[in-house]
């Protein structure tokens, strides 16, 4: 008997973890990834991974981790899912330890842990300042073992095109195009897991990799998947501005004692420490970002009048810095030319992470049966603001749940993909081939990359740190105009061999629709919560807005249609955030 097969789209932490779990459950995997899985964006995560292993005598516990995560996320996350993740976190860290990740150690040889933002406990395990890279490599190695055994077939350099959905609305596989040969093919599967990462490129420049376009999620949204909490975009407080990207300077720098400051009346002013005595430089990201933004944009106290403040590690022993933060200091040195061990770094906030994403249930299944999602492309773990070092955790945890849940779904599914009418596959393939032909004949006057650049500037200007309703309305109108200009694109390149323009133009369509989901979601939500901040409505409003934004694609109007779902608050009663003082314990609901 042939083994049943699950297709996994995306080879970052979530996709690889799901793959391992599926193989262990006896099924085979087709792993489809835009790039060599070893080059997935998970490599960019720096500071560490959270898990309450309680190795520092601080009475830490998964419950405390759970409460910090909910509190930091302004109580928008569904609690059962977050509780599941925090309980599994220590086990996940130990699993990576067994896989050989070179985590920093204590003198006794145990894993070392450091502090991160939004907590007063040391619960972040780390491998220098390249933890994401090291975790990804560990999973890449484990998957390679199964690849050598023939249990996993990798399709690297393949671009996801469409889900294949039958008349009953069930997902039966996908189509993908090989970037090099430009062959497009059907991948039949008994279930599909999407682990395609975040949509940072919608904002043009961000801390994300060039591959984080959000186009796979955008296409699935166009095909009927619900996109939840799209308006919640994390702006990381400490990035180095650059022409091609905003390079992240990890929160772990502050975990190791870095101080954020600028000059006021000729004196260094440690404004976060002043304003938030309990958490100091380790307030959650949304708060640090708004403070830095306010200092630079409103108070005009940025360094030399520019939009920059100092992130300073120069008072810390250089030996210690090299062992614990080496990776990011090298990045700063290579790209900026200054040695952060000697002079303070200059930083400004940058788009970093999407809390929102494809809606999933407790089993990581989207509203389309047979289609699962895990990692940054799903919305489930972080509420209105993600805590540092929870992203590696949520990516791994998402894959750890999605894999077995998809396998269970396949076992219980009465109809195998082999019994599905062949026309279901051929009709999607034909539609996708027709689209490629149409793109290759686009001969208007718009450059697709320039159009994308303009969209990024528009989104960054209007839909990031501070959101004003009148600007959101204007941005949405501009997006509609850009959608019209899209039709007038010139493909520039008709070579039928690694033609990047084709996949970029195809993906840009879904990115534009997600941009509308983000912008309109922000417009409707008249409150401030976590990363979503409106001066017109400066407070959190639980009575009206403690609810999940659900965007569904209206094909006729090419516009999102919004509904709102209850948030699960079954474990801890939502309470007001206040980082000026120590967090009080959560009260059980």
């Amino acid at each position: 008997m042939n083994r049943q097969k699950i297709a996994v789209v995306g080879g970052g932490l979530a996709g690889l973890m799901a793959t391992l779990k599926i193989v262990e459950m006896g099924m085979n995997v087709d792993l489809i990834s835009l790039v060599k899985v070893k080059r997935s964006h998970s490599v960019c995560a720096q500071g560490g991974i959270n898990g309450a292993c309680n190795m520092k005598g601080e009475n830490d516990s998964p419950w405390e981790h759970f409460d910090d995560t909910l509190y930091g996320g302004d109580f928008l996350a569904n609690q059962q899912q977050v509780w599941g993740m925090c309980q599994k976190a220590p086990e996940i860290i130990y699993l990576f330890d067994r896989m050989g990740v070179m985590f920093n150690r204590t003198p006794e040889g145990h894993l070392d842990f450091r502090r991160f933002g939004g907590t007063q406990h040391r619960r972040t395990a780390f491998a220098g300042a390249t933890t994401g890279q090291q975790l990804l490599y560990a999973l890449d190695e484990q998957v390679r073992k199964y690849e050598a055994e023939g249990r996993v077939t990798k399709f690297e350099g393949w671009d996801f095109v469409s889900a294949i959905i039958d008349e009953q609305g069930i997902c039966r596989g996908l189509t993908a195009q090989e970037m090099i040969s430009m062959d497009i093919k059907v991948f039949k599967a008994d279930a599909v897991i999407i682990a395609s990462g975040g949509p940072g490129m919608i904002f043009g420049r961000s801390t994300n990799s060039l591959i984080n376009t959000g186009s796979a999620a955008g296409k699935l949204y166009q095909q009927g998947a619900i996109y939840a909490n799209g308006e919640f975009i994390q702006i990381h407080p400490t990035a180095i501005p650059g022409e091609d990207k905003l390079r992240l300077m990890s929160e772990s720098a502050r975990g190791e004692g870095a101080r954020v400051w600028t000059y006021k009346n000729g004196q260094p002013w440690y404004f976060l420490e002043d304003k938030y005595p309990a958490y100091g430089n380790l307030v959650p990201r949304d708060i640090a970002t708004r403070e830095i933004f306010d200092i630079c944009v409103n108070q005009r106290l940025g360094i030399d009048g520019e939009n920059k403040v100092y992130l300073d590690v120069s008072h810390i022993n250089p030996e210690r810095l090299n062992v614990r933060l080496g990776g990011i200091l090298e990045i700063y040195e290579k790209f900026m030319g200054d040695d952060p061990r000697k002079v303070p770094m200059k930083i400004f906030p940058g788009v970093h992470y999407s809390m929102g994403g494809l809606w999933v249930d407790d089993h990581q299944q989207t509203n389309i049966p047979g289609l699962f999602a895990a990692g940054e492309c799903d919305y489930s773990q972080h509420g209105a603001n993600r805590l540092g070092a929870n992203s590696l955790l949520s990516a791994v945890y998402g894959g750890m749940v999605a894999g077995p849940e998809a396998a269970t779904y396949v076992r219980n599914n009465s109809q195998s993909v082999d019994d599905v009418d062949e026309r279901v596959f051929t009709s999607q393939l034909k539609a996708d081939k027709d689209e490629i032909t149409a793109i290759l004949s686009m001969n208007g006057s718009e450059n697709p990359y320039t159009l994308h650049h303009e969209m990024g500037e528009l989104m960054t200007e209007n839909v990031t740190v501070v959101r004003e309703n009148k600007n959101l309305v204007k941005a949405d109108e501009m997006l509609t105009e850009m959608m019209a200009r899209y039709k007038n694109i010139n493909v520039q390149d008709t070579t039928k061999y690694h033609n990047h323009s084709v996949s970029f133009i195809r993906g840009l369509s879904g990115m534009m629709d997600l941009a509308k989901v983000i912008t309109q979601g922000a417009l409707h939500r008249n409150e401030s919560r976590g990363a979503h901040y409106k001066p017109e409505f400066p407070d959190r409003n639980d009575d009206e807005w403690l609810k999940t934004t659900m965007a569904a694609f209206d094909t006729q109007k090419r516009n999102p249609s919004f509904s709102y779902a209850e948030v699960d608050t079954s474990l801890i009663e939502p309470r007001k955030r206040d980082y000026t003082q120590n967090k009080k314990g959560g009260v059980t609901s």
């Binding site: 060599k36 067994r98 145990h110 491998a127 090291q134 022409e243 091609d244 990207k245 061999y497």
Partner: protein, 249 residues
């Protein structure tokens, strides 16, 4: 805008079996500009130095902060990561070309699959019993961890293959990076259990003995991995292992 420009000469190729050609570009200069920014500029305005419209140059890049290993290419003849190569540090015209030791796919893109295949051959993984909840891994002294971490930063970027005179069409040499991975996994307390299986893989044809000690690999490694040191250590390990095998110890 300062009006200053950057002059680029790029080796291009429309497909794996097409004839290579050189095309020149002028792009606007910007402060702290890297090679990728220049290529992005060409993509937004694909016009060559003669003012003729052309196809956008194709290249590979992902993270833009030198942790993914994608953007390897020859910059003024040297194998480098394009993202961390700043324009202001280079002589102009800046000459970009695909790596030569791997087959060219299009423009600056090459096929590096053989590096990944080599990782399979040398069993570059820790053989765990499964992803189940089985408690922590072995304790490791921090000083050992520190140098092993240096080895574990290998991005499989291929620069060491490009620089190595013994990686060529006439040799079956497995290459410096996969050898260093053997040392990494053979040092880990759990990885050690399969150490001999990995040594078996590198003692045959195309293994350790194909290294000519040119030491170019360590020089070009963007992560400064001590590749030559790894190879020397493996030579010791295989010698010991050969004795052991010979005497059936």
């Amino acid at each position: 805008m300062t009006g200053k420009t950057v002059h680029l000469k790029i080796n291009r190729q429309d497909g794996p079996s097409s004839e290579p050609y050189v095309e020149e570009f002028n792009v606007p200069w910007r402060p702290s500009m890297n090679i990728i920014s220049a290529l992005i500029e060409i993509r937004r305005n694909p016009m060559n130095i003669n003012g003729d419209e052309t196809t956008p140059v194709q290249w590979e890049s992902v993270c833009l902060e030198e942790v993914c290993g994608a953007c390897s290419m020859l910059v003024n003849g040297k194998p480098r990561q394009a993202c961390s190569t700043l324009v202001d540090t280079l002589e102009q015209p800046i000459h970009l070309a695909p790596l030569k030791t791997f087959p060219c796919e299009r423009d600056l893109m090459v096929d590096r699959q053989k590096m990944f295949d080599a990782l399979k051959e040398v069993k570059a993984w820790i053989d765990i019993d499964g992803t189940y909840d089985m408690g922590p891994g072995p304790k490791i002294p921090e000083k050992d961890r520190q140098w092993a971490y240096e080895l574990s930063k290998c991005m499989t970027c291929g620069l060491c293959f490009e620089a190595c005179p013994n990686v060529n069409p006439y040799s079956s040499f497995i290459g410096p990076a996969p050898l260093s991975q053997v040392r990494l996994f053979n040092t880990h307390p759990t990885g050690q259990i399969q150490a001999e299986e990995r040594l078996d893989q590198i003692m045959g044809d195309g293994g350790l003995t194909s290294c000519g000690n040119a030491a170019n690999c360590a020089e070009v490694c963007p992560k400064e991995i001590p590749l030559t040191h790894s190879i020397a250590e493996l030579n010791k390990a295989t010698t010991l292992y050969s004795f052991k095998r010979f005497f059936q110890l």
